[in-house]
Structure formats: structure tokens, C-alpha cells
Amino acid sequence: MPAVKFSMFWEVAVADQYIGTAAEQRTKNDLDAHGTFLDLPRLPREEGVSYIKRLRSVIPLRGGSDQAGLVHGITRELGLDEKVGMKITPIASGSVWLAPSPHVEVTATTLTLYSEYYNEDNYTVDRTIDIFDQGSGYLMGDLVNQVQLSQYFVAELGPYMTGDEKSNGLIQDSSAVVIEKEWVPGNSYFFLENTDVIETSLFFTEKAVFTTEVASADLVVAEGDYYVDYPSATVTSYGSASGRSTCRYVYRDFPWRIKWSPVTVYSLRDDNYREKLFESEYMLDGSTRQGVVSDEGSQVYSQVFDRATSLWGR
């Protein structure tokens, strides 16, 4: 019944009034059902658009126990975004790269630009850039500027980067992509699916057709001769492949897109990362070894021991 107040002459019914703050009421919908299926629960207060983007990333960016898998999984579960951090392209003169054998590699701590990589006698590092600290800065924009100083490579930010992201978020990878198995078509002249194949990396399983590699297409004159034009990945052989055999190779994926995530994962056993965690001591013979724990290392270890049960001295 409404609250009733009595005045001297008549009854006045005063309506109940209440002022308060509404509390959140979670209701599950079909997206949460997809989340159950994909083992990705909704974050607190997460709206559908963000959640559906995360759900759609589960299959292409598989979580796992390796470095990339951990980055994929942790980034997604925290509701963050992986992006293309930067694009690196070798500088070319006409259609030929200035670097004889370009290669780019991201380790835990460095971005290394090789002008010549797949030549064992003579591999040449063009630049090694510390992705934690480029001297002048530590952001993606600074890192791009550092790459631009190279005479062999140009870099640009990924399409959704502002340049103000921390540059040590680059995910460890290299510009070389391994193709474990590709079907060889039953022809004597064909293209591989990827161009810029690395010279020493191509192996055919059908040895009867691909026996002797020769230096030019004109020299393919006898059974078993074959010629590969590596930049265009064109194969010319004397006999036709059976169409049931495979090959494997490594190719250069330029322009190479380096993935970036706000989440970084390091192994404490990673040699490159240990150089960040420990001061280097120079030995008399010119070699170095890891000495006392550095500033960065003490921070990392104190946080690790904070969370992990440690059994010092037992």
C-alpha cells in the first residue's frame, strides 16, 4: 500500500519514491555460448563488438605454449589487440635488391637486419637494433627511424600503429618462412607458390626428375637436369614431375610484416634476454660472461619470486 500521510483535514496519498544506483546485471547471450565453445569467457563489462572480435581470433591466432602461442593467448584473454607493428622491405635498384641476401630477424631483445644471411662463408649483419632501447627512444616510431638509417632496408609503421607503442612488443620471428610440403605439379615448367625462394633451401622428393641443378635454363639438356630461377620461383626440368611428389623450401616474405602485441613473453633461459638481466663481465681472453644481476634483472626476478614459491637453500 502507498505510504499515507495524514494532514489535519484530509488524507494525502504520497507516492513512494526511491533514488538509487542500478547494479550491473549480466545476461548471457549467444556470443557467450560461442565463448563456452571456444573456451573464451567474456571479460567483465565487455561489450559485444569487442567480444566478437576476440572470439573470431581464437582459430587464426591459436594460443599455445610456445612464445607466439603465449603471446596470442595472453593478448586475447586480456582483451588487447595484436597488430602488424612494422613493415620492412629491402631497398631495390630496379628489380634487384641492394642486399645480396636480405634477412630480418626479431629476437627477444634485438631487431637484426642482415644484408647477406644465407651465405655461410660471408654473412653480414647490416644493423642490430636494441628493441628495448634505441638510445634516442623506445617506441615503435623510434625503431622505424632506426631501421631507416640502413642502406639496405626501409621500414614503415603498420596500418593501425601510431608509433607511440613500446618497441619491445615485437613478436619474435624472422622474415624467412618455411614451407614444409608443397605439391609439385606434373609439368616440366612451373612456379612454386611463393617467390623469393632461398637458394640452398629447395629440396625435391622426386630425385629422378630433379637430380642435377644447372646454372641456366639453356643447360637443361639431359634427364635429371633442372634449373630454378629463385627470385620468381620458376622451375624448369628436363623430365616432367609425376604430379604426386612434393618439395620443401624457405622463402623470404618481403615486405615483411612484424607482428606486435602489447604483451611480451620472454624465456628466462633466452640467451638474448639474459644479456638484459645480467651485467656482462669482460674476461681477459676477450670473451664475456654473465655477471651480477642488472637493474632490469633485479626487477624481473623480484617479481618472479614474489609470485613463485622459491626454495632457496634447501
Binding site: M1, P2, A3, A15, D16, Q17, Y18, I19, G20, T21, A22, A23, E24, Q25, R26, T27, N29, D30, L31, H34, R45, E47, G48, V49, Y51, I52, K53, L55, R56, S57, P60, L61, E82, K83, V84, G158, P159, Y160, R257, K259
Partner: protein
């Protein structure tokens, strides 16, 4: 079912009516008694169809509605709080709270309205009550601005401002089925580039006809666009917003006539007085002909656009279909208006003034029309052996006045002098009957009830007494009133187009070419009288509930 659907004529009604024979009045006329009976069934069937389709979409992740019913806010009223009640003879009814107000983040108060029928559907799936803010903004650039296919070799593409699925529009392609060495092949477009995760991806899109297709993959960069079996003179456009579609297809409704069913498209038209919503279909009679390249569209009906106060919108500039919702979203630059595309059902109660099966019947070129349009009225003698002594035309206008019409369609007083005698063309000849058409221009929006009174002598009966008959026909000068009209924040500028991205988020592009994402606010509440709970959608500072 949405309350606002109840006044609308459902497209399913005609589909049901088409189970009747072609000569039946039920099948031929929307205002026949039979269709009045079918209308509630059609409406319910349409609603079930819509929800079945919606739920089917949510079953797959790629077609899910990201904005389906989710996080609510709940205000628990204290146990001492009592709602008003009304005591009936056999029950006690709870009454709606007299006022529910909410304080916004800027400490101003808004009045909330109860969802119609206190239903969850109205609460969540109604159009918004306000636009709170323009979200992120980008200088708008299409991923691939419209380009002739022969020049595709030299194009540069832009990364979509919001990575996601893309709208690919092909136009001027002629037939989508090309004869290549006596093999029929399909036109297709292949996109290569990077998906939303930066991974290498490619997708081939097949086109059955000139139009817009949404990609299956979500893209962040397009590196290469190539076409197969597409005319060199065709145009290709790739967009991250739906703004490139000039006549979007309604994928949740059809245009059903008494003869056939067709896809329906919407576009903005220019009426005499105001902007109109034009329903279009392919002019070709079958879809094979459309795929062969005859894909011109023809307008079928048009409705004048009115805002939610009933005032005409005379400068609508852009239209878009809201994905996963029933609304057609229209902007006039400063406002967004939300429409249900189907037409209002006119008040058919006046049909009771119609004589049962009159011999002299009204024939109009169009049942649905719009203000300012001129319609042609004719009379039909339905069978021979009838002598017509005299007829009288009159019309009941939307403002309630009834006037007579003379032989040239001009308005005259509705009086005895309106009768026309000695009719020419009144004889039923070998080739049937030709009437004496008059033209009438509809000066206002609303229902026009035309009356054709006649005095006839039916020679098939033995009686020679004159028989008085009246036929009634309703022509609606259709106005489509917006269910909601909300103003675009000044900070977003004057909209020149409205569109949605593939996450169903609304965007406008303003006249300086900047795309702004809009954030809607929904000031609706639901009340649970028994548990004493008030549900709202937004994060208000406070709610004030007065019983």
C-alpha cells in the same frame, strides 16, 4: 512482436493471399475483406520468420549480431516500496510508475519511458532515444574508391579505418554469366592481402548480379584486387562502411505482388512535398534474366518520410539498413530517423459502406501512393445485362471532409447535382468494358476513401426497380512516420551519409569527409513488479523511481 509493427501491412499477407485463385478479390486487393482476415496471421508469420532468421544468424559466429541482448543494469527497489495498484472486481493490477528519471554522467536528468507492453523485445530492439557522442573519427577513405575495372592494374588501396569485413560493390558489369569457350562462367573478384590479424589471406567473391557483397574474411590490408570474367567497363568499389550501396537490398523482406515474389530494395526518392522512401524491385520478371544483365530496378511504391512528430522530412540525403535490426536509417544532415519500411494499414472500417459485390466497381491504378501524386480512377462494369442510370463520384479526405468529384476529377460540393447521367462508354461490348477515367491529385498525406454510387437496372432480375449501389476504395497517400528521430551531435558535423560497419556500429560521414562513429543511448526501462526491480540499459549515475 514490436508494438509498432501492428499498424503495418505485412509483406507475408500477400504471400498468404496468393494461395487463393487469381480471379479472387482476396488475392487481388490489399483492402479486401479476406486480406483483412489474413493480415494478423501474416504479421505473426513475418515476426516468427524474422526471429527465426535472426537466431539462425546468431548460431554462426560470423553472422552473429554483436549487439544482441546483453549487459543490463538493475535497480532493486526496497521491500517497503509499493507500486500503485488498481483494484478490479477479480484482481489487483499494478500500475506503471508515474515517473522514472535517470541522471546522466553530466548530471542532467532524463525521463525514461517504459518499454511498450513492458516487453523485453521493445526494451532491447527498439531504435535509440538519443545519440550521446561521436566516438572515434577518421578521415573517410574507401578501401578502393569506385574504379573502372580496366584501370585496376594501377590502383592503390587504403587500409580500412576499422579493420573488418568489407563491402564489395560491382556495377555496370552486364551479364554476370559470361560465355567463355561455350562454358558459362561467373563474374568474380579476388582480393589478396592481410586479414584482420595481419595474416596472409585471399578471398574470391562471386557476383550473381550487379550489387554489393560482404566479404567473409575480415581484412586489414588489401594488396591486390583482380577480377575474372568481369567487363572492362564495369566499376568496382570496396568499402569498410555500407555507404557505397545506393539501393540496399532488404534481406529480411520480399516484395510480394498478386503475381510473384521479388527481392526488394530501398532508395530515397524526391516527392512533390518531401523526401520519400522508394521500394524497388528488379524490373525483370525472373532472376535468370537479372543475372543475364537486365538488372534495372523499377519503383513500386513510395512513402513520404515524416519525422517522429509527423513533420515532413524534405532533405533526406542518405539511407542505410541497420544490420540485425528492422530499421531503415535515414539522415537529413542533422538527424537520424528510424523507419520500418512497410506501409501503414489504412483504417478499413469504412469498407462496411460498400454494397456487397456491386456491379459497378472502382478501379484505381495504384492502391498505395504518396502526397502530390496523381492517380487515375476508373469504373468497371463487372458484367453485361446491366443498365446504368447515373453515377456519382465522391471522396472522403484525410481531414474528414467529403467532397464530390465531377467528370474531370475536380472537387465539387457533394450534393444531388453531382450525379452524372447519360454516360457514354457505359455499354458492355464484345471486348469488355471501357470506362471513363478521371484523374485526382492527392493533396495531403493520409487515407482517401473514394465512393462510387450508382443507380442501375439489373436486367437479369425480373424486377425493373432501380438498384442503388456503392463501391468504396481506399487510396493511401502513404506517409512513413519515423519510430524515432534523434539529433546528431554538433561535434560530428552535418551528415552527408549514414552507414554501418560490419560490426553493426553506426557511422556518419560529415560534409568535411570525416567519418564519425555514433554512440546511441537507450532511455527505456523494464519493470518487474513482483520482485520490485527496474531494468535499464545505460550506466546512469542515479535512477529515480516514483510509484
Amino acid at each position: 512482436m514490436l508494438r509498432v509493427l501492428e499498424g503495418k501491412r505485412s509483406w507475408v499477407t500477400q504471400r498468404l493471399a496468393n494461395r487463393f485463385p487469381p480471379w479472387s478479390r482476396l488475392r487481388q486487393l490489399a483492402q479486401s475483406v479476406g486480406q483483412q482476415v489474413l493480415e494478423p496471421l501474416g504479421r505473426e508469420a513475418e515476426n516468427s520468420y524474422w526471429w527465426a532468421n535472426y537466431n539462425l544468424g546468431n548460431y554462426l559466429l560470423n553472422t552473429s549480431d554483436p549487439n544482441q541482448l546483453q549487459r543490463l543494469r538493475k535497480l532493486a527497489l526496497p521491500p517497503s516500496f509499493d507500486f500503485r495498484t488498481r483494484e478490479e472486481s477479480d484482481s489487483v493490477l499494478y500500475l506503471t510508475p508515474t515517473s522514472v528519471r535517470a541522471q546522466l554522467a553530466d548530471e542532467s536528468w532524463v525521463t525514461l519511458t517504459q518499454a511498450a507492453d513492458n516487453s523485453l523485445e521493445e526494451f532491447w530492439y527498439d531504435p535509440p532515444d538519443a545519440i550521446t557522442a561521436a566516438g572515434e573519427s577518421y578521415t573517410y577513405a574507401a578501401v578502393l574508391p569506385q574504379r573502372v575495372v580496366s584501370a585496376l592494374g594501377t590502383v592503390t588501396t587504403n587500409s580500412p579505418s576499422v579493420p573488418g569485413r568489407l563491402f564489395v560493390t560491382l556495377s555496370n558489369n552486364g551479364s554476370s554469366m559470361k560465355n567463355y569457350l561455350h562454358t558459362i562462367v561467373r563474374s568474380s573478384v579476388e582480393i589478396r592481402g592481410r586479414d584482420i590479424h595481419g595474416l596472409e589471406a585471399k578471398e574470391r567473391i562471386y557476383f550473381a548480379y550487379n550489387g554489393t557483397v560482404v566479404t567473409k574474411l575480415a581484412w586489414s590490408e588489401i594488396e591486390q584486387v583482380s577480377t575474372e570474367y568481369v567487363d572492362d567497363s564495369a566499376f568496382l568499389q570496396i568499402d569498410w562502411l555500407s555507404v557505397g550501396q545506393r539501393t540496399p537490398m532488404d534481406n529480411m523482406g520480399l516484395h510480394v505482388t498478386k503475381d510473384r515474389e521479388k527481392f526488394r530494395f530501398f532508395e530515397l526518392g524526391t516527392g512533390t512535398y518531401a523526401s520519400t522512401l522508394r521500394h524497388m524491385t528488379f524490373a525483370a520478371s525472373d532472376f535468370i534474366t537479372v543475372q543475364e544483365g537486365s538488372d534495372e530496378k523499377e519503383p513500386l511504391l513510395e512513402a513520404e518520410l515524416l519525422d517522429n512528430n509527423g513533420a515532413a522530412i524534405d532533405n533526406a540525403v542518405s539511407l542505410s539498413l541497420w544490420p540485425h535490426r528492422r530499421w531503415v536509417t535515414v539522415t537529413d544532415g542533422t538527424n537520424l530517423h528510424f523507419f520500418l519500411p512497410d506501409l501503414e494499414t489504412p483504417d478499413l472500417s469504412v469498407m462496411k459502406e460498400r454494397t456487397t459485390e456491386p456491379v459497378l466497381q472502382i478501379s484505381v491504378d495504384n492502391e498505395w501512393s504518396f502526397r502530390g501524386e496523381t492517380i487515375t480512377l476508373d469504373y468497371l462494369l463487372k458484367r453485361p445485362f446491366v443498365q446504368v442510370f447515373r453515377i456519382r463520384w465522391s471522396v472522403l479526405k484525410p481531414d474528414g471532409t467529403k467532397v464530390g468529384l465531377n467528370a474531370s476529377g475536380e472537387e465539387i460540393a457533394y450534393s444531388e447535382s453531382g450525379w452524372v447521367r447519360n454516360l457514354s462508354n457505359i455499354n458492355f461490348g464484345k471486348s469488355g468494358f471501357s470506362g471513363d477515367p478521371i484523374e485526382y491529385t492527392l493533396p495531403a498525406t493520409g487515407s482517401y476513401v473514394f465512393y462510387l454510387e450508382a443507380t442501375i437496372d439489373d436486367r437479369l432480375t425480373t424486377k425493373v426497380d432501380p438498384i442503388e449501389q456503392t463501391d468504396v476504395w481506399i487510396v493511401q497517400a502513404a506517409g512513413n512516420a519515423a519510430i524515432a528521430s534523434v539529433s546528431i551531435p554538433v561535434s560530428a558535423g552535418t551528415a552527408s551519409s549514414v552507414g554501418f560497419d560490419t560490426y553493426g556500429q553506426p557511422w556518419i560521414i560529415n560534409d568535411s569527409g570525416v567519418a564519425h562513429r555514433l554512440q546511441f543511448r537507450y532511455d527505456k526501462y523494464l519493470v518487474d513488479f513482483i520482485s520490485k526491480l527496474i531494468y535499464v540499459r545505460e550506466d546512469y549515475n542515479f535512477l529515480e523511481v516514483t510509484a
